[in-house]
């Protein structure tokens, strides 16, 4: 080659400029999108919250009670105890995110699934499960024999005897389903009590088991205390202007997990307990600030993201407009999407990764799934319209159709990210499992899935985050631009947050809608997305630590 014969006289000179320019170009590429988005979001948040309309006194109070103490706490922790800071941030995040989730669940329990129905369903599944477990202890039968028994018992519990199968051949219903039996009782426990038993109890038990490494007695105390707090919240709810059901839900989902986290941190990581000062300062500072502001009568900002906005439906007057049906619709859609896409997506991923032979067909499926992930969402909307609405003759724009369409949309993403998680389980572990004589099913169940589960969940949550922001498929399947009440069943019409924002922006182009209601909707949507993604990030960190 020509270069070989060249004589090198010295090292010559290499300019550093090109490298430096390249480096900063890369930095710019990294930050450009982030900065643009941050600026945009700040603009939007400014329009929605209008912080400058607040009294200077209001700003001063919160500066003194919230901002300064928080910043000094963070500064202290940064300098002295970095590990404690992450504990503090996690606890604070837990409070914020669990409050948002509790709000969503309270919304479902108040307006969509009344506690009686919920308790009925819990009983429907709890009664046969307990009966089957008891029977398995008493009678010894092979697994295959249990399957039909279980199917029959669950069927009877869910649909009664003889149920819809009987009505096909013309038999009268003789024994009602558990849920029907339950709701036909003339006297039932109060709603909040039903919730405490069917909802708080499992949550308290789960939190208790999380705290258990720190000591059994503490765990029991947290569990019992949680139930007590939830009951107390229900009984004293009227004093803070709430009804019992949301009060119980809030106590169950915010107070119980937070106190569990605090207890475990204090007992098992005594050196990091100082970090808990951060959430204490933030929560305490906010409360103190709120009290002081009220006492001094300083007016807060004229924010559009307020209680009224979150709890009322659309109105032709921008000032009365709210996002409530859209928030509820988004939550229901997410539940439906998760129900459809999680089993299908994870199932497909496990098959492709663990079972599928390395054949041409498998590779073809592989390539097509990757391609499907890139298909524009409007195409999925058309698919939903064509298949679910026209072919299966479902009413247009319902929770079921919307959820199924969005589930199809994110299915490829769920499959791809789940496969990624499954692939990250080292092959050594599989071989070790086989070496111990385990079958493939045992290996998947005991080794691969447990190791990859948080990774799978992370991917699924991020994919759900994509589904929650989709508008085009919902427009295609005929979701209404405006509705005034929450969908209460799968066959009810549904709107969603991005769709409502789009409707405001496109159909109500008055300055008030455009400059206030739309930004306020965007702020709520982005907050929900960030909350979902933060859960995904926490899961991913745990997953990476386990590796």
């Amino acid at each position: 080659m020509a270069t070989d014969s060249r004589v090198i006289d010295g090292f010559g000179q290499v300019s550093q400029t090109a490298g430096t320019v390249f480096r900063y170009l890369l930095l710019f590429a990294t930050l450009a999108g982030l900065i643009a988005l941050t600026v945009l979001l700040l603009f939007v948040a400014n329009d929605a919250i209008q912080p400058l309309t607040a009294d200077p006194g209001w700003h001063l109070v919160f500066l003194l009670t919230l901002v300064v103490p928080t910043l000094s706490t963070v500064g202290y922790l940064l300098a002295r105890a970095r590990a404690a800071l992450s504990v503090g941030v996690a606890a604070l995040g837990l409070v914020v995110v669990s409050t948002m989730f509790a709000g969503g669940i309270a919304m479902i329990l108040v307006d969509i699934i009344p506690p009686i129905t919920w308790a009925g369903y819990v009983l429907t599944f709890a009664v046969p499960t307990v009966a089957l477990l008891a029977a398995r202890r008493a009678v010894d039968l092979p697994l295959l024999a249990w399957l039909p028994v279980a199917a029959v018992v669950y069927y009877a519990s869910l649909l009664g005897i003889p149920g819809p199968l009987g009505s096909v051949v013309g038999l009268e219903q003789t024994v009602p389903s558990v849920a029907a039996l339950f709701s036909s009782l003339s006297v039932l426990p109060a709603d909040w009590l039903l919730l405490v038993v069917t909802f708080t109890l499992p949550v308290a038990a789960a939190v208790g088991s999380y705290v258990r490494p720190a000591g059994d007695r503490v765990a029991a105390a947290v569990g019992v205390g949680g139930v007590a707090v939830a009951s107390a919240a229900a009984l004293s709810s009227s004093t803070v202007g709430l009804t019992p059901v949301p009060a119980t839900t809030l106590a169950t989902l915010v107070v119980v997990p937070t106190s569990g986290y605090v207890c475990r941190t204090v007992l098992s990581r005594p050196r990091d307990r100082i970090g808990l000062a951060l959430p204490a300062v933030v929560v305490g500072g906010s409360l103190l600030g709120a009290v002081l502001v009220r006492a001094f009568e300083f007016a807060g900002p004229q924010s559009w993201v307020d209680w009224q906005f979150l709890t009322s439906a659309h109105s032709r007057a921008a000032i009365d407009a709210g996002l409530y049906p859209a928030i509820g619709g988004s939550i229901l859609l997410m539940v439906t999407v998760a129900l459809f896409s999680f089993p299908l997506g994870v199932g497909a991923a496990v098959y492709l990764e663990e079972y599928a032979p390395n054949s041409r067909l498998a590779r073809l499926i592989d390539v097509n799934i990757s391609n499907l992930a890139g298909v524009p969402s409007v195409v999925y909307g058309l698919l939903g319209l064509g298949v679910f609405v026209r072919y299966f003759d479902q009413p247009s724009g319902t929770v079921l159709v919307g959820g199924a369409t969005l589930a199809l949309l994110i299915l490829p993403i769920v499959i791809i990210s789940s496969r990624e998680a499954l692939r990250s389980v080292p092959d050594d572990m599989r071989r070790a499992s086989y070496g111990m004589g385990a079958t493939r099913w045992q290996t998947v169940k005991n080794v691969v899935l447990p190791r990859s589960f948080s990774g799978i969940l992370t991917g699924t949550i991020l994919a759900l985050g994509r589904a929650i922001g989709e508008t085009a498929p919902l427009i295609m399947i005929g979701a209404p631009d405006v509705l005034f009440s929450l969908p209460t069943e799968f066959s009810a019409k549904v709107s969603a947050m991005p769709l409502q924002v789009f409707a405001w922006a496109s159909l109500y182009a008055t300055p008030e809608f455009y400059q206030r209601a739309v930004p306020a909707g965007v702020v709520v949507l982005v907050s929900v997305l960030l909350a979902m993604n933060s859960v995904a990030i926490v899961l991913r960190n745990r997953y990476q630590n386990e590796q």
Partner: protein, 331 residues
């Protein structure tokens, strides 16, 4: 290890006992009775509306107040455009009402008929635009549609009044109009410039507030602007309306000329089409009545939405059409 396990079971037992005791105490005092007192008289059901984005604000305004009065009725409104609503939702049987900013076309009626759907035409309001000039303007109080199109066209873009007509003053035209996000802007293009026409010129003061247009035209002798008719009627002394000549002589904009159809092309009736079979359902018939009964309400139709309300005679006519249809649907 063994010691540990006994402790665990003990604490779990404690936990269960205390929870159970708590539950029992609660059960004794905190029960509810599940007897439902059914209100047979309240309306319930769903109402699905799709169609024109022009009628959309009117339909949602009435939907909103109807929903407030009847909590068990769910009103869903979707903006799909008149044609899209007919073809994709109404004539396929998915919706109960289709809004339209033009009468139904023959082929749409045929499509509906092939699915056994009979649309009932109800006029709900009139959409009208008013072209306004300064009170001191004495040359352009009457404009032909062609002149209007020339003034606002992106191709001709005359800079002075003399560019349009040699007899008019050689002064710069100041243009005020709604911004391109407005439905009024789209309608003006549709009616005056034509869908395939030269397009709306962009060197004008566009605003989303009608107030600004009035102020602009009021403040300059050589200004011209256009806005929804409803807003002009509240400001008749501040600016003067231009009579529009669509070939049959100049016509002044007024409620009468807009309703009678003389004031072309800047006025059009707006419709909603319930399907006959749906009117057999009580809540849908009630909503249709509510729609027409309130279509004369100036505070909603004119002030909130910006259209020309129905006259009492028009309302009576529409109501009788509706009642006939309801009788047919029930009979």
């Amino acid at each position: 290890m063994a010691n540990d396990r006994t402790r665990t079971t003990a604490s779990r037992r404690n936990f269960l006992t205390s929870a159970g005791a708590l539950g029992a105490v609660g059960l004794a005092g905190c029960t509810q009775s599940t007897d439902e007192s059914g209100d047979a008289e309240t309306l319930s059901g769903t109402i699905n509306i799709a169609g024109s984005s022009t009628v959309f604000p009117l339909a949602t305004a009435f939907g909103e107040s109807f929903d407030d009065d009847h909590r068990d009725v769910d009103v869903y409104v979707q903006s799909t455009g008149s044609g899209g609503g007919f073809a994709n939702f109404f004539c396929t049987g998915d919706t109960d009402f289709n809004n339209a900013s033009r009468p139904i076309k023959d082929e749409e009626e045929a499509q509906c008929a092939s699915n056994d759907i009979e649309p009932i035409e109800l006029t709900v309001a009139t959409d009208a635009l008013t072209v306004v000039v300064n009170n001191d303007n004495d040359w352009a109080t009457e404009l032909t549609v062609d002149q209007l199109a020339e003034i606002w066209s992106a191709e001709a873009s005359p800079t002075t009044w003399a560019d349009v007509n040699g007899d008019w003053p050689k002064e710069e035209i100041k243009l005020f109009g709604p911004s391109d996000a407005s439905g009024t802007y789209d309608y003006f293009i549709d009616a005056v410039l034509g869908e395939e026409g030269p397009g709306h010129r962009q060197d004008y003061s566009g605003t989303e507030q009608d107030r600004t247009i009035i102020q602009g035209v009021e403040g300059s002798e050589y200004a011209i602007g256009y806005m929804g008719f409803a807003y002009y009627t509240e400001n008749t002394d501040r600016v003067q309306a231009v009579a529009i000549d669509d070939g049959d002589g100049p016509v002044e904009p007024s409620l009468e000329t807009a309703r009678s159809g003389e004031y072309t092309p800047l006025a059009r009736p707006l419709f909603t089409y319930p399907k006959l079979s749906a009117l057999g359902e009580e809540h849908i018939a009630e909503f249709a009545r509510y729609f027409i009964e309130n279509a004369t309400d100036e505070s909603v139709v004119a002030d909130d939405v910006g259209y020309v309300p129905l006259t009492d005679e028009q309302q009576a006519e529409q109501l009788s059409t509706l009642e006939d249809a309801i009788d047919r649907a029930n009979g």
